[in-house]
């Protein structure tokens, strides 16, 4: 598996996939829908899939002495690796905002979602949606990327809008907790996001393996 990951990083990936990890730092921006940062990270991954297609990466990988499932596994591992790096940056930003900058006026006066564990959980949901809709959709043909990406954009922005809107509803204000307020609820929401990400990604991976096995390259 180490070899297939190295192949993904050194041959298949676009440099943009790595550069766009930095969008995780958008969690620092006040008055901005911070979950767009998660979307931009996946935009880099989309570019990486395009670069790989131009390089005939899938056929090249299928010719290597590995199981076809490993070709799919390599792509999912790479995508999850980039998402994990971005999540690490988002987590650093969220922790700083929750501690050292907890009372910063720019963040307190922010009408939009604040960076807290719920936001991190939602970023994981966005990543899960990308893995299911785009990566899974790509492996239906191992070629077509436009349609799954357009569907993903629509669904991702609906999810971002919903996440941004929720805390404005009566009774859901605690979703937008500042500092260490409602930490129990916030931790639960983060765990739920992580579970959703893991489940969606795993189910998508299994389906992609089945689809890829049936695909004529």
């Amino acid at each position: 598996m180490r070899n297939i990951m190295l192949k993904e990083i050194k041959l298949s990936a676009s440099p943009l996939a790595f550069l766009f990890i930095a969008f995780g730092l958008m969690f620092f921006i006040p008055g901005y829908p911070i979950l767009c940062g998660a979307f931009f990270v996946t935009l880099g991954l989309f570019q990486s899939f395009q670069t790989a297609r131009e390089a005939n990466d899938i056929v090249f990988s299928a010719l290597l002495p590995i199981a076809k499932n490993d070709v799919v596994k390599g792509k999912y591992l790479f995508v999850c690796f980039i998402e994990a790096c971005a999540l690490a940056l988002m987590t650093i930003a969220a922790v700083i905002r929750m501690t050292a900058l907890a009372d910063a006026p720019a963040y307190r006066a922010n009408a939009l979602m604040t960076a807290n564990p719920f936001a991190l959980g939602m970023a994981l949901v966005i990543f899960g949606l990308f893995n299911r809709i785009f990566v899974g959709g790509f492996f239906k043909t191992a070629y077509k990327q436009g349609r799954p990406f357009v569907i993903y954009i629509i669904v991702a922005f609906l999810a971002i809008s919903a996440a941004e809107a929720l805390h404005h509803f009566r009774g859901l204000e605690r979703l937008n907790a500042f500092g260490t307020e409602h930490l129990g609820l916030q931790a639960t929401l983060l765990a739920a996001g992580l579970l959703a990400f893991a489940l969606i990604t795993f189910l998508s991976y299994r389906k992609a393996c089945r689809d890829f096995e049936r695909t004529d390259l």
Partner: protein
């Protein structure tokens, strides 16, 4: 000994059918797979690598079925094509460095030997190579992991006569080292020059699979060249 055995291979597309294709590739021999454009050569070769899924038939390598032994078999075979460009902007050195990790049979000595023989500069990227050099680059990867059989899809297409000749000489050299070579082509003179066996495909059907000598004995009229024989057969005239 048969290194590759294809039995009753069937693949159906809406507008084309590869039907009941059977043939063998023998150790230490060069087999030319000839047919006109669209005859089914690439479909057959892709099936031989499980890149497409046949609707019927079996493919064995080294006496074992491809399905179920794909990983082990792929370590012992090499693929090259004249038409596909892998990672056009990456350096040959970097591509080879990654590929080598997948093969416990990778031989750095062989890599250096063929790099020099093919006059390839490993600091170059595939996009900087001519068509002939691209084929050689693909061959370099296959030969560096000590492939026992090379399956090559149209390796001579698009090459100038000098590069084609050079490549066919390389095939003959590899044969002497015990490597089986199976290559598809629509250029009859390629077969005439170096093939020991001929697999002839037309409209999705294998018309014949035999040695070049047998082929000439069965299909060619007296004094008729292989090229004239093939052209006549392709017109549907089987009476020499």
């Amino acid at each position: 000994m048969s290194i590759v055995e294809v039995r009753h291979l069937v693949k159906r597309y809406p507008a084309f059918e590869l039907s009941d294709a059977s043939f063998r590739v023998e150790a230490g021999r060069i087999t030319g797979f000839i047919g006109r454009n669209g005859a089914g050569k690439t479909t057959t070769i892709k099936s031989m690598f499980n890149l497409i899924h046949p609707d019927g038939g079996e493919i064995d390598y080294f006496g074992r079925p491809l399905i179920g032994n794909e990983k082990e078999i792929k370590k012992r075979i090499g693929y090259s094509t004249g038409t596909v460009n892998w990672y056009p902007r990456k350096k040959i050195r970097d591509i080879a460095g990654i590929v080598s990790r997948f093969y416990d049979t990778w031989d750095d000595g062989a890599y250096r030997k063929y790099l020099a023989l093919f006059e390839l500069n490993e600091s170059k990227a595939p996009m900087e190579l001519s068509e002939g050099m691209k084929v050689k680059f693909n061959l370099l990867l296959a030969l560096s992991h000590r492939a026992e059989v090379l399956i090559l899809d149209e390796p001579t297409s698009g090459l100038d006569p000098f590069s084609r000749n050079e490549l066919l000489d390389i095939f003959t050299g590899l044969k002497k080292e015990g490597v089986a070579v199976f290559f598809s082509t629509h250029i009859i003179s390629d077969i005439e020059k170096c093939a020991d066996d001929i697999v002839y495909i037309s409209k999705g059907k294998i018309v014949s699979a035999m040695s070049k000598t047998e082929f000439a004995g069965r299909f060619s009229a007296a004094e008729e060249s292989l090229e004239d024989t093939m052209l006549r057969l392709e017109r549907g005239d089987f009476n020499a």
